[in-house]
Amino acid sequence: MKRLVPFLLAGCGIFHGERVADRPRAPIDTTQTFGDFAPQPAPADPPDLVFVEPRTRITALRNGVRVVWLERRDLPITSATIAVGGGSGDGAPGAVSVLFHRLQTSIAPDLDLFGAEVNRFVAHDAAGIELATIEKQVGPSLAIAGQRFVKPSFEDIEGSRHAVAGAISSRPEALAEDAALELFGFRARASAEALAKLRPDDVARAQRALASADDVVIAIAGSFDAAATARVLESTFGMLPVSPHDSESAPVVTPTDRKRATIDRPKSAQTTIAIALPSPTLGDRDDAAFQIVCEILGSRANAVARERKGYSYGVRPSCGALFDRVLLVMLDAESGRAAEAEADVLAAVESLSREPPDDRELAIGRTRVGARLVGTFHSNRTASTVLALAALHGAKEGAFGDFWQRARNVSQADANAAVRSWYADPRVVLVGDFNR
C-alpha cells in the first residue's frame, strides 16, 4: 500500500494527531552557479494549424436509426451518444428535460456497476444521452441504455421534476440562457411554472414523439468490436418504431421584439450578464466567418472586462458550439458595476462594425477555431456528441473538414458580412437583485 512519508505519531491534547510534512524542495546541483535570469529571445510564431477530420462511416439499423462510427484503438475506452432530433421546443413545456433526466437516472445505477458513466443534454432542437465506458463494456452499456430508451417508465416523475427545476433555478447562468432563448423566439428548457404543471402522460407523449427511428442518431467513438456492437444496437434501438413522418418542415422561429430581459435573484451580490446573438449552425451561410468573429469578440470583451477594468473574473463566449441557434457572451460582475459591464460588452459587439477585424485578429480567430476542432475530435466524448448532432442536422461525412476549409479561407470581407448579418442585433439578459 502506498504511504505518505514521513509519517510520525505525535502529540496529545485536543488536536492530537499525526504529524505530516510539507513537500521538501528539490535537490540542486551545487556544482553549478546561477546568475540573474535573462529570458531567451521569444520563439517565432508557430506554423499554421492543421486539422484533419477523422474518417467516420455512417450505417443504418434495419428500422432506419442512423449510426455514426468513429473507430480508433489508441485507448481502451469508448463513448456513445444517443441523440434525438427534438428538444425543449417540442412537446409540453419541460417534458423533454424531464424525459432525459428520467432516462439518465434510470440508466445510471446499472452502468455504475461496471464503471460506465452517463450524462444528458437538452437543447432547443435536440437532446441526448452520452455514455462513456471501457471498451469491453460497450455492449452491456448500449444494451441497458437501449432497453430504457425503447421502453422507459414515467410513473414517478417527481424526482426529475425537482432536479430539473433546481438545476435551472439555482444557477444564474442557466436562468440567463433560457431567457435568452426566449428573446429569440425559442422555448426555454423548463420554467418552474411549466414543470409544476407537467404530468407523466406529457413525458410519455414526448418520448413517443421523439423516440422514432427516423429521428434518432447513435454516434460511437473509440475502441469497440464493430460487429458485436452492431448486433447489440439492432436488438435494442432496432426495435424503435418508425413514426409516420410529419411532412411539414420545422416551424420558422421568429425573434421577439424584446431586447432585454431581467430576472430577479434577491440578495444576489453579483449580476450575471448575458449578451445574446443569433447564430448560424454548421453548414449555414457565414458559419465559419461567424465562429472566427466570435473568437475576436471574446478577446475584445475580455480585454476590457478582465484585463483593463478587472470587474469580472472573465467573459465566457459560447464560441465553437456549431449547432446552437443563439450565441451567448456571459460574464458576472458585482452588482454596482453591472451597468458598466453591460455597456462595455455591448461596446465590444458594436466595435466589430466600427473597427472591423484586422488580419492579425482574423489569423488568431482562425487558429482558435481550428484548435477547437482538433480538441473536439481528440476526445471520444465530444467527438461522439458532435458527430451525432451533425448527423441530426443532415451534415454529410467530412462536414467538419469542409468547415475548416471555409474557415481557412475567410477574408476580411467575409468577416464583415458575418458581422452585419449576425452581430447587429444583440439582446441582453440580466440576472441579479434589482430591488436593492
Partner: protein, 434 residues
C-alpha cells in the same frame, strides 16, 4: 542530471462480462521521461501522438497552506498577478483550447493545452513567468486583480447556493493555526489589505524552479522538448533553501455543530469527517467508504446526497450533504447518516473498482486532466505513471479496508455538522448563524 525513463507495458486484455475483476488486466501506454534540471526543476515528458495537441503544466508546490498569518489568499492572488501580464492573450493567440491556473491547498498550477507546433512558445512563456513573474507585479495590476479576486469570491462563494458552507465547515474542522483552515481564495477583506511588498516577497520565495514540476504530454518530440526546456528554464536560479514544516493533523473538530440559513426548499444537513492525508494509509478506502455511506442513504430513503472529498498532504475532509424533503427534521437526517455508517459491513467492491479504473482511463484521454493527475501522483507518491498505478491500486482495494476506514475515520468524534435551514430571506450564499 538524474534520468528515470521506463516503458510501461501496453496491455489491454479481456475483462469480465459485467464488471472489472481484480484478475483483469487493463493498462495504458505511459512511456515517459522523469528527470531534474540542475536548478531543481522536476520534469516529466510523456509523448502521445493521438492528435496534434500538447499540454503543458507547471505546478508550484505552494498553495494556500503557505499563506502567512493575516494574508489568507496571497498564494491565489499571486496566481492571478502572474497570469495578468498578458499571458492569457498570448495563449489565445497560440490557439489554446484550455488555458488556466488554479490555486489549491497545496499547490498552484498553470496549464495550457494547445496545437503542438506551439510547444516552444508555451515553454518560453512558462519560463518567462518563472524567471520574471515577481518583477512584473506593480501597484496598478495589484489593485485591479484584487477586485477580480473579490469578484471570483462572489461568483464561487457568495453567489452560489449556500456557498458559505465550505468556509463554515473548514472553520469547524481545523484549528486557527492550521494551514487548511481557510479557503484558497481567501477572504475578500484580507485580500484587499495585502500590500505589494508582501506579494513580491512571496513570489520571490515560491516562484522558483526547485519548487516546481513541469509536465509535458501530447504530440511532441522529447529530444527537442528537452533542448527547449534546458534553453528556456536552465538559467533560472533556484530559490533560497526552506525548512520543511511539520503540521499536526487534527482528529477532533473545533466545533461540533454550526447553523446556516439558505434559500433552499428543504433542510440540508452537511457533515464532514476529518480524514487521513491524501495518499496516506486508509485514504483510498476512506473515499470508497464515503461513497458507500452516501449510497446507503439514497437507497434507504431516497434523499438527495452529495459526497465530496477535499484536502491534501496535511489532512482531508470527507463531506456529505443530505437534503430531505420539506418535512424532514435535522435529527432524522443525522440518524440516517449514523445508520448508514453502521450498516456497511465488508462490501462487494466490484463496481467501485470498475468505476475507479474507468474514471482513470477517461482522465487519461484528456491531456489537461492527464497532466493534473501526473502532478498529483508525483506529489504524493513520487512516480509519474499515475494511470497504471491507479488501476493497480483499485484492484488491490479490499472490503476489509473499507470497513476499517469507516471504523477509523467516520467516528462521531471526528465529525463537524452544519445545519442549513430554509429561509426565503437568506442571500444566495447563505447566512451563518453561529
Amino acid at each position: 542530471m538524474r534520468i528515470v525513463a521506463y516503458l510501461s507495458s501496453v496491455l489491454v486484455l479481456a475483462c469480465g462480462a459485467r464488471a472489472v475483476s481484480p484478475s483483469d488486466t487493463i493498462a495504458v501506454s505511459a512511456r515517459h521521461e522523469h528527470y531534474w534540471a540542475p536548478n531543481g526543476l522536476e520534469i516529466v515528458l510523456q509523448p502521445d501522438h493521438r492528435a496534434p495537441l500538447v499540454s503543458v503544466r507547471v505546478r508550484y508546490h505552494t498553495g494556500s497552506k503557505d499563506d502567512p498569518k493575516d494574508r489568507a489568499g496571497i498564494a491565489h492572488l499571486l496566481e492571478h498577478l502572474t497570469f495578468a501580464s498578458g499571458t492569457m492573450n498570448r495563449w489565445q493567440e497560440l490557439g489554446a483550447i484550455d488555458a488556466d491556473a488554479a490555486t489549491t491547498l497545496d499547490a498552484t498550477d498553470y496549464w495550457v493545452t494547445l496545437p503542438s507546433p506551439a510547444l516552444d512558445n508555451a515553454l518560453w512563456l512558462e519560463a518567462e513567468r518563472m524567471g520574471s513573474g515577481s518583477v512584473k507585479i506593480d501597484e496598478a495590476t495589484l489593485a485591479r486583480e484584487k477586485e477580480v479576486v473579490v469578484a471570483e469570491w462572489s461568483e464561487k462563494i457568495g453567489n452560489r447556493p449556500y456557498g458559505l458552507l465550505e468556509p463554515t465547515l473548514r472553520a469547524s474542522l481545523f484549528p486557527a493555526d492550521h494551514p487548511y483552515r481557510h479557503l484558497a481564495i481567501g477572504d475578500p477583506a484580507e485580500v484587499r489589505a495585502i500590500p505589494l511588498a508582501d506579494v513580491v516577497a512571496f513570489a520571490k520565495k515560491h516562484l522558483v524552479p526547485d519548487n516546481a514540476t513541469l509536465i509535458v504530454t501530447g504530440d511532441f518530440d522529447p529530444v527537442k522538448a528537452r533542448a527547449a526546456i534546458a534553453r528556456d528554464f536552465g538559467a533560472i536560479p533556484p530559490g533560497e533553501p526552506l525548512r520543511t514544516r511539520l503540521v499536526v493533523t487534527p482528529v477532533q473538530p473545533v466545533r461540533d455543530v454550526a447553523r446556516m440559513q439558505a434559500n433552499v426548499s428543504a433542510p440540508v444537513l452537511a457533515v464532514a469527517w476529518l480524514g487521513p492525508p491524501v495518499g496516506a494509509e486508509g485514504w483510498d478506502a476512506a473515499k470508497v467508504a464515503l461513497g458507500r455511506i452516501g449510497g446507503a442513504i439514497v437507497r434507504r430513503r431516497g434523499f438527495a446526497v452529495t459526497a465530496t472529498t477535499d484536502g491534501g498532504r496535511l489532512g482531508t475532509l470527507l463531506e456529505l450533504r443530505v437534503r430531505g424533503d420539506a418535512t424532514t427534521s435535522f435529527e432524522e437526517l443525522a440518524a440516517e447518516i449514523a445508520l448508514a455508517t453502521k450498516v456497511i459491513g465488508r462490501p462487494d467492491l466490484t463496481s467501485d473498482r470498475a468505476g475507479e479504473i474507468a474514471s482513470t482511463l477517461f482522465g487519461f484521454e484528456d491531456l489537461t486532466t492527464r497532466t493534473a493527475h501526473i502532478a498529483e501522483e508525483l506529489d504524493l507518491y513520487g512516480g509519474a505513471d499515475y494511470a497504471n498505478e491507479q488501476i493497480h491500486a483499485a484492484r488491490q482495494l479490499d472490503p476489509s479496508d473499507v470497513r476499517d476506514a469507516i471504523d477509523t475515520f467516520f467516528k462521531p468524534e471526528r465529525a463537524a455538522w452544519v445545519r442549513i435551514e430554509p429561509s426565503k430571506d437568506a442571500p444566495p450564499g447563505g447566512k451563518v448563524l453561529e
